[in-house]
Symmetry: C2
Subunit: 319 residues, 2 copies
């Protein structure tokens, strides 16, 4: 949400001269991406996004992220794709940061998704899962079940200051999920962070996914579980079964969910809720008092977790 690294006009002009993409006309730091610095550039040929990778991104992961965006775009998923300079190079250095110039994606995110948006997201998520097949690189999901205990340990002592009983509830949930986490389900490339912020629409049509910096190899249905939490609850925390049904049906039209995936969905949704509960809790305690990056309320995800704990089967999600 901030421009951490300033680039001068002089340096930006030199940088763009590496590409065959026209002369620089303007550039503006944009307030997007919690982790990185992003600029929106105009040349006389078009618009581009320049991302400077800040310290929180492991530079060893960049070939995975950039290669994945290129792979998915080639396979027909609408998403930004890294651009090659005149020498064919994607990963650059600028202002002391690793950097990449990325194609510009039209559209903008919605804050109050409707049923039709959820359907589009389901369908495009299935498209992404299919498009991810054949991508050669691998990345482990560090924020899945094997990573939760460490996150819980880092927040347990203060969790009850956010909500009484939260610390114990997290410990019990981790114990349950470690015992019951599904295995053997279809795996592949998942987005792992497909919140409304990361999906662009143009009018009522989905124009693309952005922000692949949590993408990894994991259980495909877990990605659906993340989306159920991110797209199908309404303020203050009512689950909208019509939205869930639209999301699941349109996913299923494109990529059929097997019986095991359907049966596992309630547990995967609990895991997805716990994952965002834990990272929000961590950020809650580790964000300094700046008004500019306001940490998101962890309790929202505790309420979502409690909803899924009462779910009996995928039927409760409308399918």
């Amino acid at each position: 949400m901030a421009v951490y690294t300033q680039v001068s006009g002089e340096d930006m002009t030199l940088f763009m001269a590496r590409y065959d993409l026209g002369a620089l006309v303007s550039f503006h730091g944009i307030a997007e991406g919690v982790e990185n610095t992003n600029y929106l550039l105009h040349t006389d040929k078009g618009q581009y996004i320049l991302t400077l990778y800040e310290k929180r991104v492991n530079s060893g992961d960049l070939p995975f992220f950039l290669g994945l965006m290129e792979h998915l775009a080639e396979k027909g998923l609408p998403c930004p794709t890294p651009l090659h300079d005149k020498g064919g190079v994607v990963l650059q250095e600028l202002a002391g940061r690793q950097a990449a110039l990325i194609s510009f994606l039209e559209g903008y995110s919605v804050h109050r998704p409707r049923v039709s948006h959820c359907g589009h997201v389901g369908r495009s998520l299935a498209t992404m899962h299919i498009a991810g097949e054949g991508f050669a690189l691998q990345r482990t999901n560090a924020l899945s079940v094997q990573g939760w205990r460490a996150l819980a340990d880092a927040t347990a002592s203060r969790a009850d200051t956010v909500a009484l009983g939260l610390s114990e509830a997290i410990a019990e949930e981790i114990a349950f999920l470690e015992q019951n986490w599904p295995e053997g389900l279809p795996t592949g490339i998942i987005h792992a962070d497909l919140f409304p912020d990361n999906v662009f629409f143009l009018g009522d049509e989905l124009s693309g996914f952005i922000d692949f910096y949590f993408a990894c190899n994991d259980t495909l249905a877990y990605d659906i579980a993340v989306c159920l939490n991110a797209w199908c609850f309404e303020e203050p925390n009512a689950f909208n079964v019509t939205k869930a049904r639209a999301l699941l049906r349109r996913y299923n039209e494109k990529r059929s969910l097997n019986a095991n995936e359907l049966a596992a969905l309630p547990i995967l949704a609990r895991g997805a809720a716990l994952r965002f509960l834990l990272t929000r809790l961590y950020d809650w305690f580790h964000t300094c008092g700046s008004a500019l990056v306001r940490p998101k309320d962890p309790r929202e995800y505790w309420r979502k977790l409690r909803f899924h704990q009462k779910v009996k089967s995928v039927g409760d999600y409308g399918l």
Copy 2:
């Protein structure tokens, strides 16, 4: 430097429907303008800037700022100009803020101005001073000599924690300037904050001025003094007389400075240095510890002030 007010895609689409400027294609919060929230919008017809006025801007001043931009653009100064909606309205409301849609200005600021840049700035500043003639509204410069004592009072007790002796130096300078501040010089519309951040270039040509939110009625030559400080010193604090000469000469080509203005320039430059010393000092003590908006070093302007205190005449500025 931040997006203080979030606007949803849904609300932005409705907002743009007030204008006859095409359908919204994308929008991004941009990290520009310390005081306000700015979005860069694309429609199928072009690009626009949307400014949401945050609390630090006095809403009573908005007709002056917006009217001035429109007046200057009509008179031929390259600068952003407010756009009228289908009903002819400029000042809007959006997301609980007053707001205005502004034309997009190509170009970008330079971080290390060269002599030619300084010449362009001098010439365009004269163009602006001439273009300002006939603008009907008035706005007092609250940050000129009559405002400095209050700023000094708000910072005096802690000024010596920034640099030993600073508090006394400020008190002496204010006493001197209150006694010697020039009167009767030509007045008009001044920009009052024409730092390199607020001037755009395309290649070597100046493409326009931005950010008129300190503009006011005051002594025209004071605007030149602000520019001498902002454009003609080099790191760490060497005054570059070649840059100053270029700035003054090219200003003078377009609008002749009279003998009184030339004689007053060293004192005006002291005043301009003190003004930014005081506001930087104020911000130094009143910015919370966030890393995102880093306050600028007040001592830079103390060093500039000391330089001008030793200047004997405008000849020391190269003219």
